[in-house]
């Protein structure tokens, strides 16, 4: 991924900042370190995760846009509940976060669409 001499985004936390207690989250099954007082988004960015979701119709990757709870582009699944805004949710110890949730109603265990319909209504909708 890193062509043209771009450095990898590791260690994005600014050194001079006083932080809350260190905690551990699980993101897509892997442990990620965060600090109390951070939002889920900040913790994800600090660990190099930019891709938060996949769009419903054309299955494109999406990341955050506004950072202040308006655009809803940063929705992730937290502790089994889909569509939580990463930018407005504070981290808590042992949070289980899933990025890449596709269609919200497809991912929720109680509301599965029939397989035939998933992503197939894209073209005909206009």
């Amino acid at each position: 991924m890193d062509k043209k001499g771009i450095k990898t985004d590791t260690d994005l936390r600014i050194g001079s900042v006083q932080r809350g207690k260190k905690i551990t989250l699980t993101v897509d099954g892997k442990p990620v370190t965060a600090h109390e007082g951070e939002t889920v988004h900040a913790a994800l960015v600090a660990s190099g995760i930019q891709i938060l979701g996949i769009t419903r119709k054309s299955h494109q990757n999406r990341g955050i846009l506004c950072g202040m709870g308006i655009c809803y582009q940063c929705r992730v699944e937290i502790n089994g509940i889909p569509d939580q805004r990463a930018c407005m949710t504070q981290v808590k110890a042992n949070m289980d976060i899933l990025t890449h949730q596709t269609n919200s109603h497809n991912t929720h265990p109680d509301m599965k669409l029939s397989p035939g319909r998933q992503g197939s209504e894209i073209q005909g909708e206009m």
Binding site: M1, K3, K4, I6, K7, T8, D9, L12, R13, I14, G15, S16, V17, Q18, R19, G37, E38, T39, H41, A42, V45, A46, Q50, I51, L52, T55, R56, K57, S58, Q60, N61, R62, G63, I64, L65, C66, G67, M68, G69, I70, C71, Y72, Q73, R75, D83, C87, M88, Q90, E125, M126
Partner: protein, 488 residues
């Protein structure tokens, strides 16, 4: 639902306007509720800085941030932080969203309590202050939906609230003065700025000088930022626009081109900047959704940043008992919000017959004097707003020239081509286009694409925005889970 508790005053939004209103109203024996979506008081400007103060002076000649931080501290001290309102004293409801405002100033609020989870509360106010602030404005380009393309504000929030850099190296673009602020913040915090790519030409910037000669603190601040960037050898390009953001899984590079005096891209001037992080912004849009839902009249004024809430000199809206303060009455920056917060609080104190407690010592004359002083200050800041909105404004031709395959509505994935086609079929209002294409029907409820679509319709039909109309908003004005209804 029945009204759970009543307040003398409810303030929606705890930014500069909301805080300065709360501060002025505090200690007068009133029951006050301040509602905000965030955990911390301060809004978008005053974000907690858990940081050791650097040795160099704060680059802020007008001192608004300093004032703001002490205001936030005062509001924190004076109010009680809560998740469930009780109706007593001054309370600050955190991480809550107002879903709608109904008859007799009844508010339906979504909140979350530690034991119940998401739930609803129904509260009522004698006087309601709406200080919902502003958000950023965008100029869509091909690939603006790639992960790694963020707003200027998002990059600032990451640093200011969380001490996290958006990336090791960030490219900054757009037309907003926030670009410079962000560049300085990145450099100060050990980040790198690949370049600052400004839509505005130096000529355009200088042509504004006569208009803001009375706002020297802002000019000085701009000078500070430029100096900081020059010292860091940050490339600064003027009069350029993003043509495309490229990348597969995520952003990898950005193609920019020069623009001519008419605002058209000059072919053959394209250059490519490799980057994994692009922060961009094109000015500000008032968050008028909640006041519109409440029934407040709006008016269009390009000098105020678009559709704004109409208010009288006492900042009362067309709905009796509902007041508006801050950016929603016109984009003009922190100082205007601060002044309006005070002004709206004085109006309410006068209505409540607490004139003698308004903090102005003797009687009616001096209160009127204070009013006049604040109104004059407000007008002065409005002048600055004219400059600010002019500076950020992207020419109409830029919206007309968006390529057909560019996504406009990010939630519903509606492209410029689809929108153009529907405009061609006669859908010339944001409401009509929404029905024709679904743009603005997604999660953000048109907050991101709405202003863009208004500009696109204006550019393609040559209609005036005031004739196109503001979009309608209905309750709930924000996304709410069914669980919240079930829990209440």
């Amino acid at each position: 639902m029945t009204v759970q508790c009543k307040y003398h005053v409810i303030i929606v939004g705890c930014g500069l306007a909301g805080m300065s209103a709360a501060d002025t109203l505090a200690g007068k024996g009133l029951d006050i509720l301040i509602i905000d979506e965030n955990v911390h008081a301060g809004g978008q400007l005053i974000r907690k800085v858990p940081k050791k103060v650097p040795w160099f002076p704060r680059m802020e000649p007008d001192g608004m941030k300093k004032k703001g931080f002490s205001l936030a501290q005062r509001v924190n001290r004076l109010s009680r932080e809560t998740n469930i309102p009780s109706g007593q004293g001054m309370e600050r409801l955190i991480q809550a969203q107002v879903l709608g405002i109904f008859n007799e100033n009844r508010l339906l609020i979504q909140t979350s309590s530690p034991d119940k989870g998401e739930t609803m509360v129904d509260v009522q106010a004698d006087h309601l202050i709406l200080a919902t602030g502003a958000r950023e404005r965008y100029l869509p380009f091909k690939g603006w939906n790639l992960p790694g393309v963020i707003s200027l504000g998002a990059a600032q929030i990451l640093m200011k609230s969380h001490g996290v850099l958006p990336a090791q190296e960030t490219l900054i673009a757009g037309s907003s003065p926030l670009q410079m602020v962000l560049a300085t913040e990145l450099l100060t915090n050990g980040g790198r700025v690949s370049a600052l790519l400004d839509e505005n030409t130096l000529k355009k910037k200088f042509s504004f000088l006569p208009h803001i000669k009375n706002h020297w603190p802002k000019l000085l601040e701009g000078g500070f930022h430029m100096g900081k960037m020059a010292l860091a050898h940050t490339p600064m390009k003027q009069g350029v626009r993003i043509v495309e953001a490229c990348g597969g899984e995520r952003l990898e590079s950005v193609i920019v081109a020069k623009i001519n005096f008419k605002g058209h891209v000059i072919l053959g001037t394209e250059t490519t900047w490799p980057t994994r992080s692009l922060a961009m912004g094109y000015g500000f849009v008032p968050n008028i959704e909640l006041p519109v839902q409440a029934g407040c009249d709006v008016s269009y004024d390009k000098d105020k940043g678009g559709w704004v809430i109409q208010v009288d000199d006492h900042l009362e809206t067309s709905v009796p008992g509902v007041y508006a303060a801050g950016e929603i009455t016109g984009i003009a920056g922190a100082k205007k919000s601060h002044v309006e917060g005070k002004l709206v609080a004085l109006s309410i104190l006068e209505k409540l017959g607490k004139r003698d407690q308004a903090g102005v010592t003797d009687g009616k004359d001096s209160l009127q004097g204070e009013y006049r002083r604040l109104i004059a200050q407000r007008r002065r800041q409005m002048d600055y707003g004219v400059f600010l909105n002019d500076l950020c404004r992207v020419p109409s031709s830029a919206y007309a020239a968006i390529p057909d395959d560019t996504i406009i509505c990010r939630c519903e994935e509606i492209t410029m081509g689809q929108i153009k086609k529907s405009i061609g079929q006669g859908f010339h209002t944001t409401g009509g286009l929404k029905k024709a294409t679904r743009c603005g029907m997604g999660r953000c409820q048109g907050r991101i694409c709405g202003p863009v679509i208004l500009d696109i319709i204006t550019a393609l039909t040559r209609k005036k925005p005031e004739n196109i109309g503001a979009s309608h908003t209905r309750a709930p004005v924000k996304n709410v889970g069914v669980g919240a209804f079930l829990n209440s």
